[in-house]
Amino acid sequence: MCTVGDIIVIENYTHNGVHLRKHSFVVLSDDAGQIQGIDYDLICNVMSSFKDDAQKKKKLSFPGNFPIVPDDYEDIDGNDKSGYIKADQLYFFNKTNIQYIVIGSLREDIFKLLIEFIEEELDEFEEISENL
């Protein structure tokens, strides 16, 4: 069972019947609601690594990307990549329809900064609800 602030890896992520690679998400809300008339009980941001320094520079120039830098990963062995949270994309899920594992969490003050960034700094969002 995940809760707000957790980092989860969704294992059975598919699109049009095609299995996509495992993606990591930050849980923003586990309140129930509806989007386009369909029930959800999980809202997440996806996490991404950088392919190289050039991509890192490009990605961090986008206003919707919330950076998490190498120091963030000091607790992770075998992974020295920096990354970011795609804060302007909101993924809606129903927990009963996905398989996921909880692999960690954001520290509370960092999660608070992320929420403030989403609620106060961003003006445009993409919503992904086809997995419901």
């Binding site: 809760t3 707000v4 602030g5 957790d6 890896v9 992520y13 699109h15 049009n16 996509l20 495992k22 993606h23 990591s24 923003l28 809300s29 586990d30 609601g33 809202i43 996806v46 991404s48 690594s49 950088f50 392919k51 950076p67 998490i68 830098v69 120091d71 963030d72 607790d75 992770i76 062995d77 075998g78 992974n79 990549k81 795609k86 994309q89 909101l90 594992i101 909880v102 692999i103 960690g104 969490s105 954001l106 520290r107 509370e108 999660f111 608070k112 900064l113 929420i115 989403i118 609620e119 106060e120 961003l122 003006d123 445009e124 969002f125 993409e126 919503e127 992904i128 086809e130 997995n131």
Partner: protein, 53 residues
């Protein structure tokens, strides 16, 4: 994972902001999944994001 309940995203604060429905394929086309270590994926170690810059 978290012992304390963090403050959730308040969707009402996004009312009036522009939103667009997109497919997973489009949303994920430029996302590079993080390659967590086997220790993390097996639950032996937990990830903690402590900083942002």
């Amino acid at each position: 994972m978290n012992n304390n309940k963090f403050k959730s995203l308040d969707l009402s604060k996004l009312n009036g902001k522009k939103s667009t429905i997109v497919s997973s394929e489009k949303a994920l086309e430029d996302i590079s999944p993080i390659n967590w270590s086997n220790d993390v994926l097996s639950g032996k170690k937990k990830v903690l994001i402590k900083y942002c810059k």
